[in-house]
């Protein structure tokens, strides 16, 4: 099997009042789209923050392509991990192309700014996501879904082996949620490794080829979504009885009261 792109070993972290992550170990391999599931407070965002070194006082080890992130400088880390934040509310409303080209920063040599090649790569990312026509618009003029796509395009432009997305569809309507996940699925198929956290187990069932379930700061299950996401597990994690059923060939999770 390939060496993992992301490898987390025995990671523990505490903000001071009780552990948030306890002995978390996980692996994410190349071309995988891995869905990180767990209720509020289970440690999903904290795990990402440790990977990105927003939080640095953890114990254990996090490696990206065999290099511990602790040993990476800011620039090296940005060359290894591209991040799509849950919220993006810049004060200054840049043009889409100017926002996307920022993803080239870790690759720019010298201090004189972006080259024509950087611009070409940024435009290519926009085209790949089908939003090249937005290039000259400002971020303020975009809908929530378009903004999210621009941030994904910026992450693509960063050309890092791993892409981390923190609840990429949390503020989007149903149609845009599906479109974003479809895009992520296509990006993963083209060779990118993705780990994304979400609150909707259906997204994991429909679009991810692997899932990791966090509960009270521990990994309680990982593997193929169709195998891992059982009624018992989801009922235990979300404290709400859930049914994992199927409609035609598609698996889906519904809460018990709806089913009955």
């Amino acid at each position: 099997m390939d060496k993992p792109v992301l490898s987390v070993s025995h990671l523990s972290f505490s903000y001071g009042n009780g552990p948030v992550l306890s002995d978390v170990s996980l692996r994410v391999h190349r071309r995988e789209i891995c869905g990180l599931l767990g209720p509020n407070g289970s440690g999903k965002s904290t795990l990402f923050k440790c990977c990105l070194r927003f939080l640095d006082t953890y114990s254990g080890e996090i490696q990206v392509t065999d290099t511990p992130v602790r040993r990476m400088g800011v620039r090296d880390l940005a060359q290894s991990i591209a991040y799509v934040p849950q919220e993006h509310k810049p004060v200054f409303q840049f043009r889409v192309l100017d926002m996307v080209i920022m993803g080239r920063n870790p690759h720019v040599q010298g201090l004189l700014g972006y080259s024509a090649e950087d611009k070409r790569i940024a435009l290519q990312s926009l085209e790949k996501l089908g939003i090249r026509d937005l290039a000259a618009m400002t971020m303020k003029e975009l809908s929530g879904g378009q903004k999210q796509l621009v941030l994904i395009a910026r992450a693509l432009t960063q050309n890092a082996p791993l892409m981390i997305l923190d609840e990429p569809t949390s503020s989007l309507d149903y149609s845009n949620q599906i479109k974003i996940w479809e895009m992520l699925e296509d990006i993963a198929k083209s060779g990118q490794t993705i780990i994304a956290c979400t609150h909707d187990p259906n997204h994991v069932l429909w679009f991810c080829n692997r899932t990791i379930v966090l509960h009270e700061g521990r990994v309680i299950a990982e593997g193929s979504p169709k195998t891992v996401l059982t009624s018992d597990l989801l009922s235990h994690v979300y404290k709400r009885e859930c049914i994992v059923g199927s409609y035609e060939t598609t698996s889906l999770v519904i809460p018990r009261f709806l089913y009955s």
Binding site: F92, F94, N105, G130, R132, D133
Partner: protein, 368 residues
């Protein structure tokens, strides 16, 4: 009525082919042409106003005489100026340094405003609101009253300007985050503290020192001299050039510290560089010409309205606009009445309606 959702992109999922009629490169070229046009236009306006300012004043001097004096002084082998000696003295020893100092002060304060706003992600801050000017005023007052304790008035002003901006930022920072309004309040508190300390210095100082401090705080270019110009011009031009070259990093910093870090920009290192340089600019000009309000707030907004938020264009454009505005204000200050009006008064009186107009017409764009 239900809100209509915008489509997420123009192309379908399959193939990812853009349906753009034309090429995005065209838009970029248009944007670049527009930016070059705006910079050229504002540079032209600055040159015209500079020419007028050289001739205008209590002692009217014709354009040919001004040009002759300038060429005589700049080119060693140029024929000597044959007019009255006083004309030569007024043009070369009074107006040229004064105009250069006004231009460079406008450039420095506007650029500092752009940098503070970008670094703090807050379009409401400027050197004046953050208390930097008051800190510099206190430092300069200390330098005036106790000259033997400090290397120079400028170094003392820089030290206390830095203390003021660092204090405002650190006091406003709670759990790693500095809220925009809290930062402004912290700046006002730091400014108020240093204003109080300046009052203490006034109270304790001798008559001569008191007069110097009072004139200095009112802000103006009365005592502009070549020695000021020789110190301030190279430092300001050098600092502004470096800031303009690194403006693409400021773009990244301005979207948030965490995002900047994930894009490979070390926020701590770059914040120290950008804020340190902006504080140096503010302290340097404030120590020489006193407190000039509003420029650092108005000009960045004017530049953004004309050219968008990209700091690569906002820094040079705001610098040029600041130079134009302060030169107009200073020229009015010395030509409106027979006795000179402190330039700070003109800047404030013209600045208030401009800011009201800005809020009423372009408020959304300027203030997000």
């Amino acid at each position: 009525m239900a809100k209509r959702t915008k489509p997420i992109g123009n192309s379908g999922r399959k193939g990812f082919v853009s349906q753009l009629p034309g090429d995005t490169q065209d838009i970029s070229v248009f944007s670049l042409k527009r930016q070059i046009g705006i910079i050229t236009l504002t540079t032209g306006i600055l040159l015209v106003i500079t020419c007028y300012a050289l001739t205008a004043g209590a002692f009217q001097i014709s354009v040919p005489d001004v040009v002759h004096v300038l060429l005589d002084k700049s080119i060693p082998l140029f024929p000597d100026f044959q007019g009255e000696r006083i004309q030569e003295t007024i043009v070369w020893n009074m107006r040229v340094p004064r105009i250069l100092l006004a231009i460079i002060t406008g450039i420095a304060l506007s650029t500092a405003g752009v940098v503070y706003q970008g670094c703090f992600k807050n379009p409401l801050v400027d050197p004046f609101i953050l208390g930097v000017s008051s800190g510099a005023a206190f430092g300069a007052a200390l330098g005036i009253v106790f000259p033997s304790f400090f290397l120079s008035i400028q170094s003392s002003a820089f030290l206390f300007a830095t203390i003021s901006v660092a204090g405002a930022y650190l006091f406003s920072r709670v759990r790693g985050y500095s809220a925009p309004l809290t930062l402004i309040l912290a700046g006002i508190i730091m400014g108020s503290l240093f204003d109080g300390l300046v009052s203490v210095m006034k109270y304790l100082s001798s008559d001569t020192a008191l007069r110097t401090i009072v004139f200095w705080i009112m802000g103006g270019f009365y005592y502009a001299s070549w020695s000021d110009v020789i110190l301030i011009v190279p430092v300001t031009i050098g600092s502004v050039s470096i800031l303009a070259l690194l403006a693409w990093k400021l773009n990244i910093l301005s979207i948030g510290e965490e995002e900047a870090r994930t894009l490979g920009v070390d926020p701590g290192r770059y914040m120290v560089f950008f804020i340190g340089t902006a504080t140096l600019l503010t302290a340097l000009v404030t120590a020489s010409v006193g407190i000039i309000p509003w420029i650092g707030l108005m000009m960045p907004h004017a530049a953004r309205m004309l050219a968008g938020p990209d700091h690569r264009i906002v820094i040079p454009l705001a610098a040029l606009l600041g130079a134009i505005y302060l030169l107009i204000c200073d020229t009015l200050a010395r030509t409106l009445t027979s006795s000179e009006i402190p330039v700070g008064i003109i800047v404030s009186i013209l600045g208030a309606p401009y800011l009201f107009w800005l809020i009423r017409t372009k408020g959304g764009m300027a203030f997000g």
